[in-house]
């Protein structure tokens, strides 16, 4: 039934917001992925516990693009 289906425009909206965030920051998305992997490596040296939930994302804050890392410690 179509009203349970996710609207295709909502998918597009999410994709565009993310794509434009990287475009505006002039940053290739793959680079953030690499950074994330490196961060995990470094963090594991200091906190050997699991680091599965690490999130690194670009966020628009007003005029600025900000790289945000969420690092749960326990």
């Amino acid at each position: 039934m179509f009203w349970f289906r996710k609207k295709s425009k909502d998918t597009l909206k999410e994709r565009l917001k993310l794509t434009l965030a990287y475009d505006r920051a002039q940053l290739p998305p793959g680079k953030v992925e690499q950074l994330k992997n490196d961060l995990i490596e470094v963090l594991q040296r200091y906190f050997p516990a699991e680091q599965k939930d690490l999130e690194v994302e670009l966020e628009q804050r007003g005029e600025k693009m900000v790289l945000v890392a969420n690092i749960p410690l326990r």
Binding site: F2, K9, L12, L16
Partner: protein, 267 residues
Amino acid sequence: MNARAIVVTSGKGGVGKTTTTANVGAALAKLGEKVVVIDVDVGLRNLDVVMGLEGRVVFDLIDVLEGRCKLRQAIIKDKRIESLHLLPASQTKDKESLDPARFKQTVQVLLEEEGFDRVLIDSPAGIERGFQTAATPAEGALVVVNPEVSSVRDADRIVGLLEAREVRENRLVINRLRPRMVQRGDMLSVDDVVEILGLKPIGIVPEDEQVLVSTNVGDPLVMRNGSQAGLAFMDIARRIRGEEVPFPSFEEKAGLFGALRKLFGGS
């Protein structure tokens, strides 16, 4: 808009730059402004055919810039709307010969000496030299966007480039909106596009078969009566002139039509 030299641009091709230039130009002229529309798409001239003026092209923009003719000789005066004029692009000459500084000077002459109220510049697609040249004399821009993935992305890029070039008065023209698809959730709505791009629209133009019909015969839509797209282009011209014109809600209209259609047994 305060800008008198306005570039019509989009990044992506095929979203309606030339249609927008022709119709907004004709609409502004209809409202009494002395307008010249300039085709900067050297090698791929099209504004002349869209406006139905192809038979009257003698000289072109490059001839003017290179001094082969006087500015006035290259300008074609429309016979249907008194104050509408076209400066065509060259179809054959090398586009490298379009010098940005000279082009800017020419636009200044049009505004300051030839008595034009408004210059609309039809930019070629892309973000390279042709676009850069088209944007050089501009004080403002109409950024034409379709509610679709590549067009929205390119529009965002173009807005960034315009701002970097100190073109500040940038307005969005959301073109080819299909209200029934928006209602179904299969097309970005006006609000979505505005949210994503962070720019307010100066015009919302619904998809309309009459656009093709009008270009078939070479009469800009605003010269005919009654089509939805034609009215939308007319509204854009009014808003450019500073009038407060409310946006008609195509979404609701589609809903009503949809309901009526169902009522009368349509699909």
